[in-house]
Amino acid sequence: MKKLVKVILVIGLSVPILTACWNQKELTDLAFVMALGIDRGEDDLYHVSFQLVNPGNVSAGQSGGGQGLPIAVYKSTGRTMTEAARNATKEVSRRLYYAHTNVVVVSEEVARDRTQLLNLLDAFARDPEFRTTTEILIARDSSAEEIVTTLTILDKLPVTKITKEIKTTEAMKGENFSISIDDLIDGIVGSGKEPILNGYRLIGKQEEARKASNLTRTTTEAFLGADGLAVIKDGALIDWIESKKARGVLWVLDKVKSTDITLKWKGKKNALSIVPIRSKTKVSTIFNQGKPVINIKVENEGWISEANTAINLMDPKTIEKIEKLTEKAVKKEVQTSIKEAKRLKCDIFGFGDVVHKANPGIWKNLEKDWNNYFADLEVNVKVESYVRREGVRTNPFWSDINK
């Protein structure tokens, strides 16, 4: 008897101690925050927009979904994120739930201010509900609120559109790539690599973006799109790398999986289109009289997806020539992006980390002034391209036209 009582007592008493999950909350009492938009007001407070999902309008269930708008945006202000979040509860009927937050949009204004940007991050990293794998974006030429309030066609949830779009473009184009809050904090803390963030733009008429009528058209008046990479140095945004130059950055970071390269052939512009399907980048360093020299080796394999000129693709020599041209094009892209980064004196490629790993002793001396050192760093780029196949056609029809 005594033993039984003891067992029950031990279990009973351990219940309040082991209560990490003691927070029962019904689904219907939660407001899923899908995205956060952070702006800075004239009052110097954070203006936070909470994009909440309206579940009944998202899933097409029996109860006739899709009658209203899929999202609702509430705004609140505060000196800190927590204050803003708690202030929001005065407006929202349900408990704000952050476990499913997929996107955080920060306005350019906030990002350019070091303290403003850094003050945000701890709240995200500390909250147990919030995931640090959340995507973080910078709003370009529009406020974060505008990005968060925009309705999207095709994907009912704007957040799904943003996260999926970034993943797709990372895989298919290679100008933007998925960056989480974790990556950002890592980059800010570490000295060998500066973080970059995706820029996001609202394209079209801003006043139409948040209206239901935007969803009833095949071509929307306003839509969202990724554009450029934001360079963060010393915890603040310093400049943008535009889309054209962005791919070079991703080549070096080994983030390019597939993309497209347009080549000139025998004087004809836009004659060939090469699509790499596998790409690998190795960054290594050698020390020349105690000075680090960076070697970048890009290897890619691809196929010819377009040949808009009379070209004999059956000839191995032609293929060899195309490979050479591809190598040249990729090399140029990489060099351009390195030049751009050197201009900004900001090592976004993580060359510092490579040096650190190769020779910690030398790195110790260089660490303090690395970004300035980086501006004059010798970087060698070597590209090896292979064309594996040319699609389901051998010679293009252009070869026959000329006969």
Binding site: M1, K2, K3, L4, V7, I11, V15, L18, A20, C21, W22, N23, Q24, K25, E26, L27, T28, L30, F32, M34, V53, P55, G56, N57, V58, S59, G61, Q62, S63, G65, Y97, A99, H100, N102, E129, R131, L157, T160
Partner: protein, 534 residues
């Protein structure tokens, strides 16, 4: 826990005391001897049985001797009585010289397979109520009993509760002899022992304990007999009574005895060294000791190939888990751990639950209880009405409740999957245990989320490991882990690899098959053409 075991010990002691007293003071009619006067015997019989209309007395005369034969209408085969007793009696030519007429009758006039001499009234009633015929003769203080058993019995039919696709299609009936014969036909070995016993002070139910000598563990055989002898109850209505009176632990939802209506299952259990208890009047034969994993072994596992059986057995174990934790995981995930559900799914569930007026637990409870009611109703109703119930049930839980907004469609899915998963357990006794535990886990999940479920499952595991079935750990061969017995646990090894009988259960003859049983094409001989000529 100690209080329980103490209580049990006390009870056992008491039971033994009762048993002792019982043997001193039997409820049976007094063991009186048979009288010399047959008329007096008949009147004594009538006094004992009252005016029961099914007791038939037929007086006769053989030579100069008078006598009477008694049988129970309906239990005795009328043709046997008429043709092989009465006819031979009347046509018998009694020799003129003085003979022992009793001996004469025994030897010459009873054209029956089994004839016995009985001397007291207990034997008279025993034989009479088992369908035999008793003959009293004037001037003898003993009687003749002839076997004329022949009541109406059900033919052997297909099993109705344990179906199999490739297995034999016969099943036990309500007659003890038919059942023992069904087993005997499958094991033609003199080592198959059938020990008879009668249990039930009033019902006097016949029971046969079957085991294979040399394979079964003698200790367990002794234990089974001891436990059966200890039973002191007025009547045994079915093997369920026996199960509940001999099991090791009553305070558990898990069955520690196995029952089956399939002779092939019982046979294979006997071959593993288990002991079968065949009870008259029920088609369900009990086998002991029973282990946890045994309830997931279906007869088809052995009739189909090992890869397929292994996959299906895994599926069965998985569905048992679903049946146990299905609704509780739903409750825990939707009320505690929303972050664990993928975003789109979380939103989908949230949208369905938007207008449901109850918290998840109440919703789940309503649905589960409704389903249990429907199942119970469907079980008991006459077949004609059963269909109506299932239609109404499907409409009520499937459609109307969702449309009315009382429950969410997800809940209907969860309840349905749980219910179907529950049905895939081959033995009902184990399935019903899952049903009960499910509700406990649902409560724990409501209070503590996944932590509660884990707590419940841990307690369940500890409890399972503490169980014994006739001294054998219930979780064998998982806990205690035994590598040799894994051949028939989660993975069903190929038949040629299942060389040994399960340990502990079987003693002595452990080897099941010879070596090199793995089949394959014949090895190439040096001269293949010669091989062809042979």
């Amino acid at each position: 826990m100690s209080i329980l075991s103490k209580m049990l010990k006390n009870k056992q002691k008491k039971r033994q005391d009762d048993n002792y007293r019982q043997k001193q003071d039997p409820q049976k009619p007094e063991d009186l001897p048979i009288l010399r006067d047959y008329q007096e015997n008949i009147s004594h019989l009538k006094e004992e049985v009252g005016n029961s209309s099914d007791v038939n007395v037929r007086e006769f005369r053989i030579g100069a001797h008078k006598g009477a034969l008694v049988y129970i209408d309906g239990l005795a085969n009328m043709i046997s009585v008429a043709d092989y007793i009465l006819e031979t009696l009347m046509e018998a030519e009694v020799p003129d010289e003085p003979v022992d007429i009793f001996q004469f009758m025994l030897e010459k006039t009873m054209a029956l397979g089994s004839v016995k001499t009985i001397t007291n009234w207990n034997q008279v009633f025993d034989t009479l109520f088992s369908g035999d015929t008793v003959i009293f003769l004037q001037g003898f203080n003993k009687a003749i009993s002839g076997e004329t058993k022949g009541w109406e019995k059900r033919a052997i039919s297909e099993p109705s509760t344990q179906l199999s696709i490739r297995g034999p299609k016969d099943s036990f009936t309500e007659t003890l002899r038919t059942n023992t014969a069904l087993i005997r036909r499958r094991i033609k070995s003199p080592n198959l022992r059938v020990d008879a016993m009668k249990i039930g002070t009033i019902s006097q139910t016949d029971i046969a304990i079957m085991y294979i000598k040399g394979i079964a563990n003698e200790k367990i055989v002794g234990e089974v007999k001891e436990r059966l002898e200890r039973i002191n109850i007025d009547a045994i209505q079915g093997s369920g009574y026996i199960e509940q009176l001999i099991e090791d632990q009553s305070w558990t939802t898990f069955p520690t005895t196995y029952h089956s209506e399939r002779p092939d299952v019982v046979t294979s259990h006997l071959l593993e060294g288990r002991i079968a208890i065949v009870v008259d009047g029920t088609p369900f034969t009990v086998t002991v000791p029973a282990l946890f994993i045994q309830f997931f072994q279906a007869p088809d596992d052995y009739y189909s190939r090992f890869d397929i059986s292994t996959g299906i057995r895994m599926l069965r174990i998985l569905s048992f888990l679903i049946a146990v934790i299905g609704p509780s995981v739903y409750i825990a995930a939707t009320t505690f751990h929303q972050e664990m559900i993928p975003t789109t799914m979380a939103i989908a569930i949230a949208s369905q639950r938007e207008n449901v007026p109850f918290p998840a637990f109440v919703e789940a409870l309503i649905m589960e209880v409704t389903f249990e009611i429907l199942r119970e109703a469907g079980l008991r109703l006459p077949r004609a009405v059963g269909q109506a119930v299932s239609i109404v049930g499907a409409l009520v839980i499937g459609q109307a409740a969702v449309q009315a907004g009382f429950v969410s469609p997800v809940m209907v899915i969860v309840v349905s999957i749980t219910a179907i998963a529950n049905f895939s357990t081959p033995v009902f006794a184990m399935a019903i245990a899952a049903r009960l535990i499910r509700f406990v886990l649902m409560g724990l999940a409501t209070m503590l989320g996944f932590y509660g479920i884990m707590l419940g499952l841990m307690f369940m595991t500890i409890h399972l490991c503490s169980l014994r079935s006739f001294g054998i750990p219930y979780m064998m061969p998982l806990a205690p882990f035994n590598i040799r017995n894994q051949q028939d646990a989660f993975v069903r090894f190929p038949i040629w690899a299942m060389k040994n009988r399960p340990m502990f259960i079987s003693k002595g003859n452990m080897k099941r098959s010879g070596d090199h049983q793995k089949p394959g094409p014949p090895k190439q001989t040096e001269n293949p053409s010669q091989n062809g000529e042979e």
